[in-house]
Amino acid sequence: MDTSVLGTAAVSFSGLGHAYISDSWIFRGYHASIKKGEVFAILGPNGRGKTTLLKILLGALQPSEGSLHVIGDLAFVPQLFQVSFDFSCLDMVLMGRARKVGLFSKPKASDVQAAFAALERLGIQHHAERPFHQLSGGQRQLVVFARAIAADAQILILDEPTSALDLENQKHVLLWIHTLSREDGLTVLMTTHHPHHAFAVADQALLMMGCERFEIGPAKDVLTKDALSDLYRVPMERVTFQHNGRATETLVPVFSDLRDNAT
């Protein structure tokens, strides 16, 4: 890999496209350059190919065309998370050490320590011995974050990290995304259904508009009401208001016209 070309990019791809069935392209010609420590949001409605893109980024799927460069280890944080067994939170986080533990080995004390440290980083170390399934959705999401941190990964790939959470937990998780990128220097790539989440936390955003159409750039520039209305086919508004004495902006979908348009 010619790192001089990439600069400080942690992840970059160009001409990226994939078709599961030949000539039926999910997306085509995508390119992006994501710097280390950035939060990169990927938006698109259902079925547009966000999961396919994630799989390609993780190396689980070979793209039909294009090139992908990744510098650093990846860790995946799936959406809310069902496990078939009663593992403790510490054991769940310990699973993140898989790459460091040989096929016939068991985790060492240093691995357990790293797992505990990851829980501590996220402030949930007191749940270490509790069964994972007993935790609330928001806490479970944090445990899965801890698992990614325990893996010593530099790049986190999140699949809709807030979709299954209530508002308070959504904000809590977004706060951690921000903290981990700013304080720990982790590069975070996340898919999301919520433009206002991307607006709040992302540095760059990618809008998957259609097969070969996409918008990419700094989040505040790309997440415009026109682009998002086009993306989601629901009118969007960018709203400015005062919060804690400061002018703040957010994005809202317009649902308030529902009652007028009843069919």
Binding site: K55, V101, H126, A128
Partner: protein
């Protein structure tokens, strides 16, 4: 609290409690074996057993006193190989069942379900039909088990990633080899071959001898040790396939390796003692109730419990009536109501409590 404090308190109590239980199980197994050596049509007191075992371990020129030639022969030539084989069979089946249930994230999986037992039975029975030696029968069983497994994976997909397809395919393969065994029974010579085939299929430790001990012990120790060493990795397979792969696992290859090792254990058991069902299916459930789901303790616990169960069953098989009850029948008669009870009990609590 600090890591050191946490280590001392939390991990310490859970882990050491489970270790204690494992040691207790191991002790119970050894004790049961010693007692079982004395049980049978020809009763032998425990003190004599201990002396015989001592003489075997530390041979000396002076014959041990206070025991008869009969006692010596019964214990060392007849019972000891039988106990060893039943212990290893039970441990192998318990271990295999726990591994398969973890592998397929499904409590309904056992060596019988994925076709291995039936394939091994077919292989062994085919070898009997051809008049093979014991080694031939064993090889036949291993080849048959691996063949069933390969067909299973070929149909379900080499990636082995879809659990439901794999289990269904296992059922189909089991049914096919079960029918093939039926065909062999049909064409077998009713006077000579058929009785030995039928008896072999029913599962029995009655023909135990020292050569068959080697046959089952070697694969068990080799494959069993490898499986125990991979017990942490088996924890990882409880995750979603995509998630596990993202953590760095080659899920398909790992599954193949594990199932291959299980096949070795089960096929050698079938070769030596015939078809014994309902052990690999129910023992892990009980082990899980006491030890939880972490395979690092669940696997050795299932092995030990399986050993205890099968030795106890064999004791009953030998002594309950004048004629020996084939152990495969006994485990089925006892195992099926137990499994029904387990299903009932877990209906609300759930395989995972959610």
């Amino acid at each position: 609290m600090s890591w050191a404090q946490h280590n001392a308190i939390g991990r310490g109590t859970n882990a050491s409690r489970r270790s204690v239980y494992l040691y207790l199980l191991a002790f119970a197994l050894v004790a049961l074996c010693i007692v079982s050596l004395g049980i049978g049509r020809y009763g032998v007191p425990i003190s004599t057993i201990v002396r015989i075992l001592g003489a075997m371990v530390w041979p000396s020129d002076v014959a041990p006193t206070g025991l008869t030639q009969n006692e010596w022969v019964v214990v060392t030539q007849i019972r000891l190989p039988r106990i060893i084989i039943s212990v290893i069979s039970g441990m192998g089946l318990g271990l295999s069942g726990a591994v398969l249930q973890g592998l397929f994230r499904n409590p309904l999986v056992g060596p019988d379900i994925i076709g291995v037992s039936h394939g091994a039975a077919f292989g062994g029975v085919f070898a009997i039909l051809l008049g093979a030696s014991v080694l031939g029968i064993v090889s036949g069983a291993v080849i048959g088990g691996l063949l069933a497994l390969s067909i299973c994976f070929a149909i379900a997909g080499a990636s082995g990633n879809n659990i439901l397809t794999l289990v269904l395919t296992g059922l189909i393969v089991s049914a096919f080899f079960g029918a093939a065994v039926g065909v062999i029974q049909y064409v077998a010579d009713p006077d000579v071959q058929l009785p030995s085939i039928v008896y072999w299929l029913l599962g029995s430790f009655a023909n135990a001898n020292w050569s068959s001990v080697t046959t089952i012990v070697v694969p068990f120790f080799v494959a069993g040790t490898m499986l125990l060493m991979m017990s942490w990795r088996l924890n990882l397979l409880s995750l979603d396939d995509f998630d596990a792969m993202a953590l760095g696992l080659n899920v398909a290859r790992l599954r193949w390796l594990i199932v291959f090792l299980v096949t070795l254990i089960v096929a050698s058991q079938v070769a030596v003692s015939g078809g014994i069902g309902w052990v690999g299916l129910i023992i892990p459930h009980f082990a899980r109730m006491i030890f939880g789901a972490d395979h690092r303790t669940l696997l050795p616990a299932s092995a030990l419990l399986g050993g205890i169960y099968v030795v106890a069953m064999d004791d009953i098989a030998r002594t309950a009536s004048n004629q020996e009850i084939p152990i495969g029948l006994l485990t089925a008669l006892v195992g099926t109501p137990i499994f029904a009870w387990l299903l009932q009990k877990n209906r609300n609590r759930g395989w995972r409590s959610e």
